[in-house]
């Protein structure tokens, strides 16, 4: 295709978009893409949080009672030598009880009923790769003198299940809104095509191929998608900043994404998606109404 022809299509599409696109449809497109981006941001943050939490997962290896200090040291050395272990910390039974009291909070009274400290001595083990937690735990449990091994299996699985659920729901919402955007752009262009049916007929009579007629509509779709995405991207970027400030003020322990780069990347993805959806709508919908 010649460069002049490309310029011609761009100019035609741009002018047509300016003539035909209403603020309402542009607003609806921007709103849809905004929701799409918001879903993306929520997913990104959940992923971020889960990764941070996974990194904190520790294995606790409880030791048999009545081990000599030498025996404890030997077990420590063996754990340290196990594949996949990053760091080992000793937690004495008294230290363990103190932590347990802290976790139980107002229910700590129950420990006084038990009387004697029921906890054995233990090692807290941090692993190199959270995904290998189960294997490392199994290896440690085979070391003589280790009574039992505990790691946050239930929690990890719950977290992953939640992530999956949010992912599926997010994808469903995303599909819905992608469809909405394609439909709105398509409808805008359908109206253009109908209002210009006579013009299109003339173009065909003067020897224009279907593609020559379709390209400007494709460009028009891309322009609409791009403008809609740019508006929603700006709102999303600004809105996210405000939200993050709000959350970190309210609940600073929630590790939300604060770096601008991933958010900017999402906005750019949104832009590309807007253009692509516009092109699809412009290209596919027009074909159905081009019969002269």
């Amino acid at each position: 295709m010649r460069l002049t022809t490309v310029w011609y299509f761009l100019a035609e599409g741009w002018h047509s978009a300016r003539r035909n696109v209403s603020l309402i449809s542009l607003g609806t497109i921007a709103a849809s893409l905004f929701v799409l981006g918001a879903v993306g941001l929520i997913l990104m943050n959940l992923n971020h949080i889960s990764q941070l939490l996974q990194a904190r997962i520790e294995i606790r290896a409880f030791l048999e009672d009545d081990l000599s200090p030498e025996g404890v040291a030997a077990i420590r050395a063996q754990i340290q030598a196990t594949d996949g272990v990053a760091q080992v910390t000793f937690v004495s039974k008294d230290e363990g009880l103190r932590r347990l009291r802290g976790q139980l909070g107002e229910h700590a009274g129950i420990l006084d009923v038990v009387g004697e400290n029921p906890l054995p001595d233990a090692f807290d083990v941090r692993v190199e790769d959270p995904d290998c937690t189960a294997q490392v735990a199994a290896r440690i449990s085979r070391i003589p003198g280790v009574l039992s091994v505990n790691y946050g299996r239930g929690f990890t699985e719950k977290l992953l299940a939640t992530m999956r659920l949010v992912g599926v729901a997010g994808a469903a919402v995303a599909v819905l809104f992608v469809a909405a955007v394609v439909f709105i752009v398509g409808n805008t262009i359908r109206l253009t095509v109908i209002s210009r049916a006579r013009e299109i007929e003339v173009m065909k009579l003067v020897g224009a191929t279907d593609w020559f007629i379709r390209w400007p509509f494709l460009v028009e779709g891309m322009v609409v998608g791009l403008v809609g995405a740019a508006v929603s991207g700006l709102l999303l970027f600004a809105g996210y900043k405000v939200t993050v400030r709000y959350i970190t003020g309210l609940a600073p322990f929630i590790p939300v994404i604060t770096a601008p780069e991933p958010v900017a990347a999402l906005c750019i993805t949104l832009l590309i998606m807007g253009v692509l959806m516009g092109a699809v709508a412009g290209g596919v919908f027009v074909k159905r109404y081009l019969r002269v």
Binding site: T4, V202, K204, L205, V206, G207, T209
Partner: protein
Amino acid sequence: MMMLIRLYNVSKVYPNGAVGLLNVDTYIRQGEFVFLVGPSGAGKTTFMNLLTRQVLPTQGQVIVDGRNVVRMRPSEVPYLRRAVRMIFQDYKLLPNKTAYENVAFALRVTEANPRQIRARVMESLELVGLAWKARAYPGELSGGEQQRVSIARAIVGDPTILLADEPTGNLDLDTSWGIMELLLRINKRGTTVIMATHNRSIVNGMMRRVIELDGGKIVRDDERGAYRREADHGMVLPG
């Protein structure tokens, strides 16, 4: 001489029952200049529309430059219409484009080179005497001016065949003769010209082949004919 256009027993009956053309069997040679005459509703426009596949015949075959127009694939139609240009009776200009852009459009669809487009469009507008209105939109032009833009668009690409449907319908006598001169010049350059007209003095003044239609049928085909059979050479008949 080569048969550029051939119609084999062609009929066109519109869906509403109106007869456009009835059992027409004829040919047109390469390089000819042919007048198509006949009363309003005789089938002149239908004849031309069949050659560019704006309508399909209900019967018969239409061959243009070796290609069967009836059996042609839809994707070939644009190329047919670039070789067979038409000056439309109702101009058919694009309302949102300037005179210049309307003429240029006929070249843009062929993806011609941009410098060539500029030169040829201006040349073409000059030939119809409208270069000074290049930036005007059709809505800002008189009927005759729009007609001349339509003429400029049809001739800009040096077509194989030029179908001129009443090209002087809205023009005064002087401008009409100017346009005739232009069509003759294009014909001399090798373009086959078919011109539908009600203009008696032009037909009589040119002494070219005349095909007369009436009720969709060819009722006369004279090599060096007049607007009316014999009449115009001698006495004047009413009508």
